[in-house]
Symmetry: C2
Subunit: 302 residues, 2 copies
DNA sequence: CGATCTTACGGGATTCGTAAACATA
DNA sequence: TATGTTTACGAATCCCGTAAGATCG
C-alpha cells in the first residue's frame, strides 16, 4: 500500500482539529473519506495514529510524535509549490542577457527600466560584450540569451530577429555631403573616414559592404568606442558610419545623420539562444518585452 | 489540479536518470504514465520542468532548482515512514511501567530480561511505587501502564488481570503452626503478627480479611519493607503474611510458607491503564510478554 | 532507421459520497 | 438521546497500460 499526500493532509488536519468531522469540513470532504484515508495510512505505516471513540479523537503516542514531522513535510511541499508558481508568474526570478555595446547603451537600459515596472520581482543582469564573446556566454549558459547581430554560423544557436539596424552616416552639420539628396558609398571615397576598429561587428559590416563595391575600405582613423568616433567627427576629422541603434548621436545638434542606400549597410539584430533550450518564465517574459519595445523603437521593419 | 507524490517521484527519477524511459524502468511503470505525470506536475506548478526533444531530456533552469528540494522532501517522507514502521515492528521504542514493589522486585526483572532478548530495540523504564502513586502516574501519562492490584475505583482506569496473588503465611521452620495441616486466620490469634504498615496494599488486604472475620487485626510489629518483616520472622519475633509474588522468601531454607484458606487473602494482580487509550506497539508487546510470563510463573489461576 | 517522447483510447482499480448502522456520554 | 465514527455500496473519476504517431539524430 502506498502513502498519499491526501492521507497525510487528513492526518494533520484531524490531529490539529481534533476530530474527523471538523477536519472533513475544513478539507471539503466527507468524514467517511477521511476515515478510510486514516485507515489506509495506519495500515501503510503499521501504527495506530488515533485513539478514536465515538465521541472524541485523540492522538496516540506515535501519532503525537509523527504529527509535527508530517506537518512540516506538508508545509515544505507547499513552499516548494509556491516558489515554483512564483517563478511561473514572474513574481521572482533572474534573467541575464549579453548584448552588443551599442544595444547595451541604448535599447537595453530603457527596456530594463520598462520591464522592471511590470515585473519588479525579476532582476536583470546585463553583460555587454562583442559578438564572439556573446556566443561563448550563450554556449556556456552564462546568460539566458544574447542580443546581437545574426552573423552567427553555429547550428546550436538559434536567432530570432528583433529589428533591423541600419548604418547611418554621421557628419558635421556644415559638411558638404549634408546637402546631397542621396548619398552612396562611392560618394565617401574622397572623404576622410573614421571606422570602428577590426574587433567590432560594425566594422565587419562596413568591410563587407565595401568589398561588394570592389573598393577597399580605407579609413583614415580607427576608434575602439563609438563615442570616440563621434568626437572625431565633431572635431572635423572626417565622417563615420554607425549603427542607428546607437542613436544617442541623433540628439547631438551639431551633427547630421544621413542614411545610405546599400543592401549590405544593415544588420539584423535579434535574440540569440541555445537551440531547444526553453526560456525560463522570466527570460521569456523579458524577451517578449524586448520584442514589443523594438517595434516601438525601430518600427516594424523586417 | 493537485500535486501527487507519484508525480514528484517521477520528476526526481527522470531528473536523476536523464530520461523518461530509464525512469519508467526504474519505477516499474510505463513511460506514457510518466509523461502524463510530468505534464500534470508542470501544469500544477505552472512551470516547464524539462526540455524534451525526442532524443534527449534535460532539466530546465527551474527544474534544476527544484530537483534537490523535492528530492529531499521525498527522502524525508521516506524517513518518517521508516521510523513509523520501525516503531510498529518494535525495533525501537520505549515503554515505562509503574509496578508495586513486590512485583518490581520479582516478576518484572525477569520479564524485562526476557523481553529484551526478543526486542533489543525497546528500552523499558520501571518505576516502583505504591498503588495510589501508580494510579497517579497512569493518569498523568508518566507511564504507559501500571502493574498493581485491582482495588481501584476509577472509571478512567481499566484493569486487565495478570495473575492471582495469594497471601502466604511465613514462619520459622520450627514453628508450632508449621505442623498443622490446615491453617486458618483464627489460628493466628494467639501468635505475634508482623504486618506491613498501613501504606502498603498488602496490609489493606489483611485488614479486610480480618475485618470479615469480626476479629480486628492486632499486629505486634509493623514493617515498611518486606525484607524487614522476613528478618523479624527469622529472628523469632513472630509470623507474617506476604504476597506469594514476593517469592524470594520461598528460597530461604530456614523459613516455611503455608497457604491459608480464606477468600479475602488474595488479590488480583494485573495491568492498569487508561481506558480507551491504546497501547503503543512497544507497550502492547511488553504487556503481552507479561501475560505469557505470568502464566508460567503463577500458573493459569484466574 | 532506431531510439525516444507524445497522443489516443479502453479497461480496471481506486475513491468518493450517500445512507444506514453503531457506539458512547 | 444526540453527536460523531464506522460500515456498506453504488457511481464517478482517475490512472495505468497498450498501441499508434511523431520527431530527431
Amino acid at each position: 500500500m502506498n502513502i498519499t499526500l491526501r492521507q497525510l493532509r487528513a492526518f494533520v488536519s484531524i490531529g490539529n482539529l481534533g476530530g474527523f468531522t471538523r477536519a472533513a469540513n475544513a478539507l471539503h470532504a466527507t468524514q467517511p473519506a477521511l476515515s478510510a484515508q486514516i485507515n489506509q495510512l495506519e495500515e501503510s505505516l503499521g501504527v495506530r495514529l488515533f485513539d478514536r471513540s465515538t465521541r472524541s479523537v485523540t492522538l496516540t503516542q506515535v501519532g503525537r510524535d509523527l504529527l509535527p514531522v508530517i506537518d512540516k513535510l506538508l508545509t515544505d511541499l507547499q513552499a516548494v509549490a509556491a516558489r515554483a508558481r512564483d517563478i511561473s508568474q514572474k513574481n521572482t526570478g533572474r534573467v541575464t542577457v549579453a548584448a552588443l555595446p551599442s544595444i547595451s547603451s541604448t535599447l537595453l537600459p530603457r527596456a530594463i527600466a520598462d520591464f522592471h515596472k511590470s515585473f519588479p520581482g525579476i532582476s536583470i543582469g546585463l553583460k555587454d560584450a562583442l559578438a564572439e564573446r556573446i556566443v561563448d556566454m550563450i554556449r556556456s549558459d552564462e546568460v539566458d540569451f544574447g542580443i546581437s547581430s545574426s552573423a552567427i554560423n553555429d547550428p546550436q544557436i538559434e536567432f530570432t530577429p528583433l529589428a533591423t539596424d541600419r548604418m547611418v552616416l554621421v557628419l558635421p552639420r556644415g559638411h558638404k555631403l549634408a546637402k546631397s539628396a542621396k548619398i552612396s558609398l562611392e560618394d565617401l571615397l574622397d572623404v576622410p573616414l573614421i571606422f570602428m576598429n577590426r574587433d567590432s561587428s560594425v566594422r565587419r559590416i562596413l568591410d563587407d559592404a565595401y568589398a561588394s563595391t570592389g573598393q577597399p575600405a580605407t579609413p583614415s582613423y580607427e576608434a575602439a568606442f563609438m563615442s570616440t568616433a563621434i568626437g572625431m567627427v565633431r572635431a572635423g576629422l572626417g565622417v563615420t558610419l554607425l549603427p542607428s541603434s546607437a542613436l544617442e548621436v541623433k540628439t547631438a545638434s551639431d551633427l547630421v545623420c544621413r542614411t545610405i542606400k546599400h543592401p549590405k549597410l544593415k544588420r539584423k539584430i535579434g535574440i540569440l539562444r541555445k537551440r531547444r533550450q526553453s526560456f525560463s518564465p522570466a527570460a521569456a517574459s523579458f524577451a517578449a518585452s524586448l520584442h514589443a519595445l523594438s517595434r516601438d523603437w525601430f518600427g516594424s521593419e523586417a
